[in-house]
């Protein structure tokens, strides 16, 4: 029942903004869905497999650049470009990750940071992707909503609405896919590696293989997100797609919402992204603008969650509260 309501809200969310002309909030919704999707991807390697990846944005960038190159040089349709981006990203991820799975815990995390740091000068100087001058994605003017959905092109006024629904579609696919993985054998193997790697290996689970699989799933999702972002921004610059925000936000969304829980990153994204946008909107160009107040609040929220509810907001006793609200006794003794 709750899911039906949530799906309805998500589908109808842009309607009031379309009618009042406040398209900006549709873009906020787009960013929330994009980060929620990336958060679900990060959750696979970070929450389920327990290996913290602090540099996932390299796959975001690989996805964006591959899609841009396919679209510009070979005229690929946006969705085919997305598939190509996902394929390239997964292959590169597998090649990069397998050797590094020898490293455990903190060492692995720092290796992922190292990869991100190596990617930055490559992105800024590689002639194939035009270095720091970026790639520009050509877009045809006009076109109906349906045409836009098929080609990810929404020039003009329909952009906020169109990309919101594109993001919703990709987010839904990611969510259903993640749910399937969570309940599958892979999901169990990931969690086994997280909880007790030596024990898992003792019963024959190849921890290196499943770490690679988990990271490749994340790479696929980040590549799809990168493609979507590339077509939204209409240009791919190394500074933008390798930005530290794409590393941190999905991870923070997962942590704040509930690390290892399917809906955790979704809740986290819904909480975190609007804070930043709200700050930008209310502080505008006043004396406190550009002073990073939104990030101060981010920091405070993260510290609060880490100290008070390290299992994320999803671990709060929602069911008990709902039961008490309805006037019935809660199902379990724990309040």
């Amino acid at each position: 029942m709750v899911w039906a309501v949530a799906a309805l809200v998500a589908l109808l969310y842009p309607v009031p903004f379309e009618r009042s002309g406040q398209i900006y909030y549709e873009t906020v919704g787009f960013l929330v869905l994009l980060n929620a999707m990336l958060g679900i991807g990060w959750n696979i390697i970070g929450g389920w497999a327990g290996q913290f990846d602090f540099g996932p944005s390299i796959f975001f960038a690989i996805g964006a650049y591959t899609a841009a190159l396919l679209s510009i040089h070979w005229g690929f349709n946006a969705w085919l470009a997305l598939l190509g981006a996902v394929a390239v990203s997964v292959v590169i991820c597998a090649a990069l990750t397998y050797p590094v799975t020898r490293l455990r815990g903190h060492y692995f995390a720092i290796a992922t940071v190292a990869m991100w740091m190596i990617a930055q000068p490559i992105g800024a100087t590689w002639p194939l992707i035009n270095g720091s001058q970026g790639l520009f994605i050509p877009v045809a003017a006009g076109g109906s909503f349906v045409h836009g959905m098929l080609t990810m092109e929404f020039p003009g006024r329909g952009k906020g609405l169109g990309f919101y629904y594109l993001a919703l579609l990709l987010f839904a696919v990611t969510l259903l896919g993640a749910r399937a993985v969570e309940a599958s054998k892979w999901g169990f193997y990931f969690r086994a590696v997280r909880d007790d790697q030596d024990g898992a290996e003792a019963i024959g689970i190849d921890s290196r293989l499943y770490k690679v699989i988990a990271r490749c799933l994340m790479a696929a999702i980040f590549a799809a997100g990168g493609t979507l972002y590339g077509f939204w921004a209409l240009a791919v610059f190394p500074d933008q797609v390798l930005e530290v925000n794409w590393n941190i936000l999905p991870m923070m969304a997962a942590v704040v919402g509930g690390l290892g829980r399917l809906w955790g990153p979704v809740l986290g994204a819904i909480v975190l992204i609007p804070i930043s946008q709200l700050m930008t909107a209310t502080l505008g160009s006043g004396p406190l603008a550009g002073r990073g107040i939104d990030l101060i609040i981010y920091g405070a929220v993260i510290m609060l969650i880490a100290g008070w509810r390290p299992n994320g907001l999803l671990s709060l006793p929602w069911a008990a509260w709902a039961a008490r609200f309805r006037g019935r006794a809660p199902a379990s003794v724990k309040g």
Binding site: Y107, A300, I302
Partner: protein, 201 residues
């Protein structure tokens, strides 16, 4: 607080403090004037044909001295022994009467103090702005991982190695790749020695 929660708490603290500084002092670049090290600038020491700038030398010696003191604390005192015990097996340490919370608090405070000293020394050579710490932080992660978690000597050796790699690659490769080479070396060494040079964990 579990280890995982601690990591995220420190990330939150990073956002909080860095942007708190931005809010209080703006992102303007500032410079130090009139300190001891800046007054010494220009002075050079010649050692067998190699010219070394005195401010850098003094800064390096201060850091080296602190390394030595830290090594003495961790390796030669009972308190250091207690800290190592807590790092190795927290529950066993509790059983012999060590309070892990106190160890964590002191370790954290000590680490922060040392970083602060490094910041003061570096402020003489680099401009001061809120995001100044980020590049050094990421490099520090790689250095500690290279040296091995839990080893002071390892960190020193790794730091020297990284410094050498940085300088050599800056001379022969495009400067944008200076840090990338350091991280590449870390990954390469990590493949053959996953626990770093002298890592105990």
């Amino acid at each position: 607080m579990s280890r995982r929660a601690l990591i995220f708490a420190t990330v939150g603290l990073f956002f909080f403090i860095q942007n708190g500084v931005v809010a209080l002092f703006t992102s303007d670049y500032r410079f130090i004037e009139g300190s001891l090290l800046t007054r010494l600038s220009g002075a050079n020491l010649s050692l067998g044909g190699v010219r070394i700038g005195v401010p850098l030398l003094v800064g390096g010696l201060i850091a080296l001295g602190l390394f030595f003191l830290l090594y003495l604390l961790i390796d030669r005192t009972d308190f250091g022994l207690a800290m190592q015990a807590t790092a190795e097996d927290r529950d066993a340490a509790m059983l012999v009467g060590i309070r892990p919370q106190r160890m964590y608090a002191v370790a954290w405070g000590l680490g922060t103090a040392l970083v602060a000293v490094a910041g003061v020394i570096l402020a003489n050579f680099f401009s001061v702005y809120p995001q100044a710490g980020l590049s050094f932080t990421v490099l520090a992660y790689a250095i500690v991982a290279l040296g091995g978690f839990g080893s002071v000597l390892g960190t020193l050796l790794a730091a020297l190695l990284v410094g050498v790699v940085q300088s050599v690659t800056a001379a022969y490769l495009p400067p944008a790749f200076k840090d990338a080479f350091v991280f590449g070396s870390y990954i390469l060494i990590g493949l053959f020695r996953p626990q770093g040079l002298f890592g105990r964990f």
